[in-house]
């Protein structure tokens, strides 16, 4: 039946469903991942033993599956339903690492690049942001040159994250993809020193700054200029390169509560330190570091002073001899501003080395051409990462990303802007900014029936006393059996609860959002769909938003009948009219007052 005129009321009702139906809403893990990796899908495939397929799903979004499988701060796990309900998130990163170890093969890497655009882009920094930007731009057909100050790939990921967490050969293996895609990398070239920034702008059609935040910041507490005080960046970088830090003593205090602080503390053991302490304004309960890092630090014997801030560094003859700590009462004032308050309670720890893991600052490599703000981050439009200079964009730590996966997303974002710039398109043209970064999932569904708490699995760790003395990897990762079991815990969060209930809608589509989008778009509906609804309301009962699908189907029937000379378009309904006539005929009816 063609050209049915459906009533506006019906279109409005359908639009309501399309706007609110959660059938296609990404689960929390996927929306929290700034690269929107289809976690649910690859976890399921991994659990089914389809490792190559699972890896393909990961590689659709990220080129560093094994790296991230080892070191990602996995925002997906934070919001995992099993975390919010039971505090036992799925080991997403561990599963990712496993499938990458099992199935990654260069022969399968997607080397598709776009037609040569004739445009040249310079990217400063070969960390995750620069690399991701390079990949995106090569796929668009642009020529890409990466300038890397170090003589190795990976940026801060390589010199900031210790080897026992991320073996360097893993980085090199995964980064070889850049070379295969035709990205030219110039190692050992420092922009702002070897080549001035303005020169770079002249030589290239567009520039992306992704050089990270490599300047350590030291809080100017009393005694901070003593010998034996170092920023975390310098400490980790040197340990990364040489597995040693000769300037350090035997008793180390690491100031800070994040993952970088844990890296510094745990690396300290590995360079031969005898005692490792930590202090931070945050208490044990509020430490920003990931739980696993805290646990492994504790296992290795790091002595925590969480909730104690540095008051002053003690020294003799200019050399550090200890640190005085002050108990923290609160970190923020009522307005939420950083304004730590301390009690009178103090404690002194005898140390000869103090490491400040209290944040890194971005160096200006533009010679003042770009404005910088807090922490040296360049001032950019947060949606497009555009700077005040047309064609210059900033990605990664230099623009405010805090973790590797965020840096990658910012790299991709900068590339999307660059590509538009190079094609003379508006920077906002055809973009959904929400999809370019993390967002809160709109999926709001009840826990599946009979969901029970099952503990999260961990890969096998080397014994703490043994592992803390070398740089070999700490975590052996999962066994195939563990992956099967761990993946089986995934709740595969999705809505489509109505589709579990309704037999017939599954014959016609995926979920109401799709069915009614099609209806609105094509201004037509399959009469068989309309006439297959039992009007039983089971879909509405299952729907967390109580959408009344029945009303739309029944409403559409009226329009079908109108367009069909007063009759149902269903051949099978021909008999109904006779049936109804008889049901109202005098022969079969009666009415009596009694």
């Amino acid at each position: 039946m063609e050209n049915i005129i459906f009533s506006q009321k019906l279109y409005d009702a359908a639009q309501d469903v399309v706007d609110g139906c959660m059938g296609y809403e990404a689960p929390a893990c996927q929306s929290a991942c700034p690269m929107h990796t289809d976690v649910k899908q690859y976890v399921r495939l991994a659990g089914e033993g389809q490792y190559a397929d699972a890896l393909n799903v990961v590689r659709e979004k990220i080129f560093l599956p094994q790296t991230l499988g080892r070191i990602c701060a996995h925002p997906c796990e934070q919001v995992c339903r099993r975390n919010t309900e039971f505090n036992q998130p799925i080991s997403v990163a561990g599963i990712k690492r496993f499938i990458a170890e099992q199935a990654d093969d260069k022969a399968n890497w997607d080397l598709t690049v776009g037609k040569d655009s004739g445009k040249k882009v310079a990217i400063v920094g070969a960390g995750p942001a620069g690399a991701q930007a390079a990949i995106e731009l090569r796929r668009q057909g642009h020529a890409v040159t990466l300038f890397e100050k170090l003589d190795v790939y990976g940026g801060m990921m390589r010199v900031g994250i210790p080897e026992y967490r991320l073996p360097r050969d893993v980085i090199d293996f995964e980064y070889s993809y850049l070379d295969m895609l035709g990205v030219e990398t110039r190692f050992g070239v420092e922009i702002g020193k070897d080549i001035p920034f303005n020169e770079l702008c002249k030589q290239f059609d567009s520039v992306i700054l992704a050089h990270g935040a490599h300047v350590g910041s030291i809080i100017p507490v009393e005694g901070h200029q003593s010998e034996g005080v170092f920023p975390a960046v310098e400490y980790l970088k040197e340990i990364s390169k040489t597995q040693a830090f000769p300037k350090a003593g035997k008793r180390v205090m690491v100031i800070g509560g994040g993952d970088v602080a844990m890296d510094c503390a745990r690396s300290s053991w590995r360079i031969g330190t005898e005692a490792v302490h930590q202090c931070s304004l945050e208490t044990m309960e509020t430490l920003p570091a990931s739980q696993i890092e805290i646990e492994e630090s504790l296992e290795e014997g790091v002595l925590f002073n969480a909730g104690w801030g540095p008051k002053r560094i003690l020294s003799e003859n200019g050399k550090v001899t200890g640190i005085e700590l002050q108990k923290v009462l609160s970190i923020f004032d009522e307005q939420g501003n950083f304004a730590p308050k301390y009690s009178e309670e103090c404690r002194t720890v005898a140390v000869d080395t103090v490491i400040f893991a209290t944040g890194q600052v971005v160096a200006d490599i533009t010679d003042g051409a770009l404005e910088q703000s807090r922490g040296g981050r360049y001032v950019v439009d947060p949606q497009t990462l555009a700077t005040a200079i047309p064609g210059v964009y900033v990605a990664g730590d230099a623009s405010g990303g805090a973790i590797v996966i965020q840096a990658m997303a910012l790299g991709r974002k900068a590339a999307l802007s660059t590509d538009r710039f190079l094609n003379d398109r508006e920077l906002n043209d055809g973009r959904d900014f929400e999809q370019e970064y993390s967002y809160d999932s709109r999926l709001n569904v009840p826990l599946p029936e009979n969901t029970e708490n099952q503990p999260r699995l961990h890969g096998e760790l080397r014994d703490a006393d043994e592992r803390k003395r070398d740089f070999k990897q700490v975590d052996f990762g999962f066994t195939p059996e563990q992956v099967t079991l761990e993946a089986s815990r995934c709740l595969q969060c999705s809505c489509k609860l109505c589709m579990n209930e309704c037999v017939m809608m599954n014959d016609f589509g995926d979920c109401p959002k799709q069915l009614f989008s099609d209806f609105i778009e094509t201004k037509s509906m399959d009469p068989l769909l309309v006439y297959s609804c039992n009007a039983c309301d089971q879909c509405t009962i299952a729907c967390p938003k109580d959408f009344p699908m029945k009303e739309i189907f029944l409403g559409a029937r009226v329009d079908f009948v109108k367009a069909n000379g007063g009759n149902s378009p269903m051949p099978g309904h021909k008999g109904i009219n006779m049936h109804q006539k008889l049901g109202f005929s005098r022969f079969f009816t009666m009415a009596s007052k009694g």
């Binding site: 039983c536 149902s568 109904i576 009666m590």
Partner: protein, 256 residues
Amino acid sequence: MAKKIFMPGCSLPSYNPEAVKKTADYLKKVFPDMGAVQKCCGKPTAAIGQAELFKERFGLLQADFDKVGAEEVIVACQSCMGMIKKGAKRQKPVSLWSLLPKIGLPEELRGKAKHSDAVFTIHDSCSTRYEKELQDGIRWILNELGYKTREPKYTRENTRCCGFGGMVVPANPDVATRVIQRRVDEFETDHVVVYCAACRASMMGVGTKSWHILDLLWGPVVMKNDDAPVNVLASPVKAWMNRYKSKASLIKCMNI
């Protein structure tokens, strides 16, 4: 007291005119002033989308209600209940199933099945999924009779459709069959009790032994190994003959 009439619906008279007769006779004994109307409520017409024709047809029923001075319509059909609730101008529906607990069962029927070894799964009609009092009434009746019952997983307000609703059977019989098959698959007993003759026909269509609650009320005590009554609704000629018989017995009952 409000003027009551009994309206057995369509599928019940087509299925079991004897049950209609006995129900009417019993109600008449309790409410001597009761009248009766046998006519369709027009739901099939509404369901296929013939909005104008439905108005016309429901108007005929409304005229009958008004003619006999009805204020309360005792319905044995859940579709009738919904249509009257929504559409009748001056009457309100009263379900037979919520009425019986109030007036009680004939004394000789109480506990008649207490020695039955059959266990009945209760299937609730989806069109009255939110009518708790009605559902309670069904359970009360079964309990009064002495039958053992079982609730399926999806029951009362969460009950699942028998596949008959929305005139799907003639439009998409394959879907209707899958819907009823899924419904019966969740039952854990061999016997099912329904209170809608169309639900019963759906179940019988896929070989599930089911009884209308009036079969249990007025018919013989059912044992585990008994067969269910024949699926009369599957043969239109017999069904229309039954409907005629039902009409005749109602007229007779009203004229006593």
